[in-house]
Symmetry: C2
Subunit: 230 residues, 2 copies
Amino acid sequence: MNKENPKAVVLLSGGLDSATTLFVARSQGFALHAISFRYGQRHAAELGCAAQIAHAAGVVQHQLLEVNLSALGGSALTGASAVPKHRTDAEIGHGIPSTYVPARNTVFLSLGLAWAEVLGASDIFIGVNALDYSGYPDCRPEFIAAFERLANLATKAGVEGTARFRIHTPLIAMSKAQIIRTGLALGVDFSLTSSCYDPQPDGRPCGACDSCALRHKGFAELGLTDPLEK
Amino acid sequence: MNKENPKAVVLLSGGLDSATTLFVARSQGFALHAISFRYGQRHAAELGCAAQIAHAAGVVQHQLLEVNLSALGGSALTGASAVPKHRTDAEIGHGIPSTYVPARNTVFLSLGLAWAEVLGASDIFIGVNALDYSGYPDCRPEFIAAFERLANLATKAGVEGTARFRIHTPLIAMSKAQIIRTGLALGVDFSLTSSCYDPQPDGRPCGACDSCALRHKGFAELGLTDPLEK
């Protein structure tokens, strides 16, 4: 990767969506600066995946930042309450689940923005998805548009005009199957990714949470088997 | 303090402005939930001040959250570069200084929002000030309005209508002298606060940074001596 290319900050959880987003940013010629967060998530195994994906994509830098959202409570993903399992498609598509982490994408985009300003980058990528989105409010286009507007008011670079921040959401209108097809076309090795909300001690997916269900369905629609299920 | 009063999250750095903001929120009948950040600031002495002020105000809870912005670089307040000293009023009023921390208030408000949603609070107080503001873009009314709009799009509580988030900025149009007068009227003990960007090893203010200069001027305009200078 040429370090003279324009820089992009890419939010990288280690899941299927963010891995694909990283490779989309690469395909657009950006020098990749990936950022991951240790936020008190139950499934911190994904951070190891993030490191492997970042390496596979040839990033310039991979930043791991600590921000302990679990101290604030309020989510099955950071707290002690159980992750919901074996929900039907109708249940998954209805309402905001207990795995919602209050203001998580606002916090992560804010930290991504801080890093982008320091790097002199104008472009921030996030793998949000409004279709198979499981009901998270901070995955919707109107949220992203509001954050982009905020970013240009919040920063020295935005106010002085040295950067015009753009929040890129290449997956926002894709189905899970389309995301997988896009990732495969760009060379993403999905065996390196982790999507499960509640992985087993050896890191293997539970196969029953909403995230496992959506991922399984996506591969199945393409007539493929998830490499994690092989 | 009655815990049945409506809850407010108050961003509390330990400085003069945030201490006054905390007491303004108290005077409006809110149950106070103060939040402070260990973000890699040089002047972490202010966190001890924050704890004392929180206690003096009778807060329900004081949350100290770690988020290491210094890992991202980009500011004299978190890095190794020198804090500017002995600047004139004209210099202080012109441009964005090296003590600007990229996207700091965006990050802090995001984390305050996360906590507010968990607590079931709709009201968030921040002691930003657009008059003696030293040129920070994230202290302006247009930034605050954009964040308030974002907050209501970003959250489960905002989307479901269980909360209508409001960002309160009681100091935004005040001079430093007006802030000090307001704080004194509400019983703030300014000897507990710390405003200096580069305090001495014993915690005493340097007397020469922009923040010390603005604070000194504010007390002088009221014909008072800062208790920290006594």
